[in-house]
């Protein structure tokens, strides 16, 4: 028994993972082509892609996966949820710990107003109903980094319920079409983060850092409306963008500000849901998608081979790319929930219920928070499409890359070039270079101003687009030269002098009589070769249209 990890290796399951990955929904070449067609164009939450077995032995066994997410977002606040300790990532261990955080006897929680506001903002942005009265509960379990022996959370009556999150998944030939989808949000609750345990196996001891203990978390619980890793990844990415736009969480997964647990089960459509597993330890969006797809396929394989799925917690192993049973707790945990007696009910107000003469410092007005909500990613994308005439998928790309939208907007501000031109340069050339070198926008050697100047030169027909590419390449070297300097140093200006261009055309024609002959004999495509040759002679500085015109004139004369 035990060691399920070894069992799979024995059966060689790990090697089947590549196929599992390829089989996830919406991907081209998925073995379930007909299924993904069915999905296309739907935004329904009920729609789920179907999985086929790897070895379709007993007829047509179709599987559907059901995925729900629990997302913990660390609230961006100066101090913790119930204490005055500072919140800071990577501070020296145990340097941000108040008496309450260490659970000294007699200490009491005091709710942080900022955290409540962040929860209300997030709830509103996710179309939730904000509960005017919510309650806090204690959830008990013994763990070294949970000094009180319980976590304060909102189990019975959370601050926000019944919302929805609309996100987009890529589909179509080049994954370039964006299909909107919606996942329902069950609830958003305020709760405390735990500390961190560092296990020193060598000395068999555990070191505790309580800096994180008591930091405010928003737990966002999604209904199980998702059906594959890609959907989950897209939904989480959208949530991340929303949180960042609101400023309620930095939502950086690598720093643990956004943590995702996935509940996964598979079943035959029309039959009851299967036993679910919970996959933890998903600290990047890429791993989230991988882990979910792996787990779905593992469950299908397990069931296909006559096995059963255990209701267990599994952890995703990044290196091996698989999920493994955590085997942490013997039997079921009973958290023995109890109302937190030290915190009165959290009461929020709106414009109609606000008591007259209430001290604004003592009350939270939902309507007032609603008025101050910033532009949400969905609206930003719509605006980009309308304002700059770009495709929806381009707007997705602009928002999904950290800092790209800002870069784009800065270029737009400084250039006379057409927005479509800017979009194309930013998304194709600029982003292409970044991706190639695996750089973030903030690490780019090309500034928005430099790109704007370059696009101006192009727009004023000072340089050709070929020359512009050359200038961009020079800029990427990061030597501090402006596009103007590069153009003049390399003599990349467009040849505006018609006389010398005519001369050049003439000599090229003379030098290639065979091509001229071809043309005259009725091969119209031969002119392209001549154009190419002339361009080469001009070092791409001449406008191809003008070259063509001169050549045609000469040939017909």
């Amino acid at each position: 028994m035990a060691a399920p990890m070894l069992r799979w290796v024995g059966r060689g399951r790990l090697w089947t993972f590549a196929r599992v990955d390829g089989g996830s929904c919406h991907r081209r070449g998925a073995p379930t082509g007909s299924t993904s067609n069915r999905i296309r164009g739907q935004s329904s939450v009920a729609q789920q892609p179907l999985y086929t077995t790897q070895k379709p032995r007993k007829g047509e066994h179709k599987w559907a996966a059901v995925v729900g997410l629990e997302i913990h977002a660390q609230i961006s606040s100066n101090s913790k949820l119930f204490s005055g300790s500072q919140v800071r990532f990577s501070a020296p261990p145990n340097s941000l710990v108040s008496f309450f955080d260490a659970s000294l006897p007699g200490t009491l929680p005091v709710l942080n107003r900022r955290c409540v506001e962040a929860a209300v903002m997030t709830g509103l942005a996710l179309n939730c109903h904000i509960n005017k009265k919510s309650l806090f509960d204690r959830k008990h379990y013994f763990y070294a980094d949970l000094p009180a022996g319980y976590q304060i959370t909102q189990q019975r009556l959370p601050i926000a319920v019944n919302g929805s999150l609309t996100y987009g998944v890529c589909a179509g030939k080049k994954q370039s079409q964006v299909i909107p989808k919606t996942v329902r949000i069950k609830q958003i609750q305020l709760e405390q983060d735990s500390g961190k345990s560092l296990h020193d196996d060598l000395r068999s001891q555990t070191l505790i850092d309580l800096n994180r203990a008591g930091v405010g978390l928003l737990e966002v619980v999604l209904e199980p409306d998702l059906s594959c890793g890609e959907e989950a990844a897209a939904a989480v990415r959208e949530l991340q963008l929303i949180l960042q736009a609101l400023g309620t969480s930095q939502a950086n997964m690598a720093e643990g500000q956004l943590r995702v647990d996935a509940n996964i089960s598979v079943h035959h459509p029309g039959e009851p849901l299967g036993v679910r597993t919970e996959v933890k330890n998903l600290n990047s969006i890429r791993f989230l998608a991988k882990a979910i797809d792996y787990e779905i396929q593992r469950q299908i394989d397990e069931l296909e081979n006559g096995g059963e799925i255990l209701n267990e917690t599994r952890s995703f192993h990044h290196q091996l790319g698989c999920t493994m049973s955590m085997r942490d707790k013997e039997g079921k945990q009973d958290y023995r929930f109890m109302p937190e007696p030290n915190l009165p009910p959290l009461v929020l107000y709106d414009a109609t219920s606000l008591p007259a003469g209430a001290d604004p410092q003592q009350v939270i007005n939902i309507d007032q928070i609603r008025e101050t909500l910033p532009e949400l990613p969905r609206v930003t994308r719509e605006r980009l499409v309308q304002q700059y005439g770009m495709l929806l998928e381009h707007s997705f790309t602009l928002l999904n890359e950290v800092g790209l939208l800002e870069f784009f907007q800065n270029v737009i501000k400084e250039t006379r070039a057409e927005p479509k031109k800017v979009t194309s340069w930013v998304l194709n050339t600029f982003l292409g270079y970044l991706k190639q070198q695996n750089l973030a926008v903030s690490e780019s050697p090309v500034t928005p101003s430099a790109l704007a100047e370059l696009l101006d030169l192009l727009d004023s027909r000072t340089i050709s687009s070929a020359a512009a590419k050359q200038v961009f390449e020079e800029l990427w070297k990061g030597e501090g030269k402006t596009p103007g300097q590069i153009v003049s140093e390399k003599q990349l200006e467009l040849m505006e002098d018609r006389g010398s261009l005519e001369q050049l055309c003439h000599s090229v024609m003379e030098a290639h009589p065979q091509v001229v002959m071809d043309l005259k004999e009725g091969n119209p495509r031969a002119i392209n070769k001549l154009i190419g040759l002339v361009r080469k002679a001009t070092q791409s500085r001449a406008d191809p249209a003008m070259i063509k015109e001169i050549l045609e004139k000469k040939l017909s004369s």
Binding site: L104, P105, L108, P109, V110, H140, G149, R336
Partner: protein, 528 residues
């Protein structure tokens, strides 16, 4: 001087009849002499003397901080005191020195009070006798009073006098004994189900439980957060009002304190007459277990009010009989939760076992808690299990609401204050008391006091008279929520009518010499 009330000694300090240091030294010496009472767990002699010195400077410069400046006080050992060991009378917290003061302690110190020490209690305040702490039981000073001794001499059945000492009641028995034996002028107790009023009744003191939310719980090591209130033990009602005035008010560190403006300071008018008052007598409090003496005093008290023109009404609190079992479920559930933090990791006791974290938790908690605490944790966890939660915890919460509504209904019927017994009888001898287990005792002894905590109301026990045995008997007044001042005003009037006798401890001092192996006693006047 030591036998005076807080108000009297405060006046003496202001008039320069005595200095804070002299007063402090007198109290310290009496603490030493009465060490056998086991009232104190820690005597903070150095701290107190230093505070006295500072107080003395203030008096010299005419910058007294008020009525409490230079007044020796004691604090139950379940309030956090910065730099002073705070044990809750448990192995679990032996050696634990908190880095902060409870808000109530800080407020006393800010008013210039002298902290004499930390007083004994039942472990984590779980008990009604002050007999179940790791430092041993507290002895009731009345065991050594002239009044009790004389009555005992008349009783042919009394044999072994030394082992026949009485309990103080509890769980704030140390605080009660400390005030009763004149080692300080006021003491803080805590009151979850009667823990301040019960020992006050047994020790002939005023024991006041303020409205829930009036006084901060920050720094009070909790028993039941939703019922705990810091309690005040003094020799008279006026003293309790002075201390309440220093303690009451919202605390940003305790979100359950109320912000509504409260009349401060708590100056109590002297009621000229009670003809506009309506006193309620809850009929359910007339239980068969009530001793005939207490019963007769209770009815005499009602007669007194009536004869002075007050309206006295029988009222019904129909859910009273469910109070004990309801309290049991709620108390143990919160205890199970509150005790979860004592795991040996951050502070307090840690066992030697280091096989695994879980094994360390288990052994630490087994070694650190006594049977009573462990038993309550076990019950509480049972009630909180998912399968039991609805049947026990939620039901108990509903019953609690009914009990609270009983009081609301009684007060809505025009009653100003309720008059009830505080305890079933006077204090019993220790040997008698321990014949029953802690649980049975707590259930019996809290019967008149517990419901008040579930409703969050203010209540005060006032010493009324001595029993046939020469022991104090107290009666309880219960007021409307946040009508603490009205409640104390009525209590003050009653106190004046009954003229409860002062404890005569001269005999104790003589006996003391035997108990303390002939230690030489300084002569102190213990009589007013």
């Amino acid at each position: 001087m030591l036998g005076r009330t807080l108000r009297e000694v405060s006046a003496a300090l202001k008039q320069g009849q005595i200095t804070p240091t002299e007063l402090c030294q007198k109290c310290l010496s009496l603490i030493k002499k009465t060490k056998f009472l086991n009232a104190y767990i820690t005597v903070s002699e150095e701290v107190a003397l230093k505070q006295a010195e500072e107080s003395e400077k203030r008096y010299k410069n005419g910058q007294s901080l008020g009525d409490l400046d230079g007044i020796p006080v004691a604090v139950k050992d379940n309030f956090s005191t910065s730099g002073i060991e705070t044990t809750c009378a448990s192995n679990m917290l032996k050696g634990y020195i908190p880095p902060y003061n409870a808000t109530v302690v800080q407020k006393l110190l800010d008013q210039g009070a002298l902290l004499m020490g930390k007083t004994n209690l039942d472990e984590f305040a779980m008990g009604s006798g002050s007999t179940d702490g790791v430092f041993g039981p507290v002895k009731n000073p009345w065991s050594y009073s002239k009044q009790y001794r004389e009555k005992r001499k008349q009783n042919p059945h009394s044999k072994n006098e030394d082992s026949d000492w009485l309990i103080t009641g509890g769980s704030s028995g140390g605080s009660a004994a400390a005030v009763s034996a004149f080692t300080c002028y006021a003491a803080l107790g805590s009151d979850t189900g009667g823990s301040t009023r019960n020992p006050a009744a047994h020790c002939g003191l005023v024991g006041f439980k303020p409205s829930y939310g009036l006084v901060s719980r920050h720094g009070l090591i909790p028993l039941v957060n939703s019922m705990d209130v810091p309690g005040i033990l003094t020799r008279c009602v006026d003293d309790a009002a002075i201390v309440l005035g220093a303690l009451a008010g919202p605390d940003p560190k305790d979100s359950t304190t109320v912000h509504d403006p409260i009349n401060k300071p708590f100056m109590l008018p002297s009621l000229a007459d009670v003809s506009k008052l309506c006193i309620g007598i809850p009929k359910e409090y007339l239980v068969p277990e009530l001793s005939s003496e207490v019963r007769s005093l209770w009815s005499k008290a009602a007669d007194l009010f009536e004869s002075e023109g007050a309206k006295v009404l029988e009222v019904s609190l129909p859910h009273t009989s469910y109070s004990i079992v309801c309290y049991h479920v709620l108390c143990t559930s919160e205890v199970a939760s509150n005790m979860a933090r004592f795991d040996g990791l951050q502070y307090g006791h840690r066992c030697d076992i280091d096989v695994s974290t879980e094994a360390m938790y288990a052994a630490t908690r087994r070694e650190g808690f006594n049977d009573v605490v462990r038993g309550r944790i076990l019950s509480g966890n049972f009630f909180l299990l998912k399968e039991n939660y609805e049947n026990y915890f939620v039901k108990a919460q509903k019953v609690r609401r009914l009990i609270a509504n009983d009081f609301v209904n009684a007060f809505n019927s025009g009653v100003d204050v309720l008059l009830t017994p505080t305890t079933l009888s006077e204090a019993v001898p220790y040997l008698e008391f321990i014949k029953e287990d802690n649980r049975t005792r707590s259930a019996q002894d809290d019967i008149f006091t517990q419901a008040v905590n579930m409703a969050g109301l203010p209540a005060v026990s006032i010493p009324v008279a001595l029993s046939n045995q020469g022991l104090p008997i107290g009666l309880q007044f219960i007021g409307r929520a946040f009508c603490d001042q009205q409640l104390l005003t009525v209590a003050k009037w009653f106190e004046k009518q009954v003229q409860f006798p002062v404890i005569q401890l001269q005999e104790l001092m003589d006996d003391c010499s035997a108990v303390l192996e002939n230690e030489k006693l300084a002569s102190v006047s213990l009589k007013q």
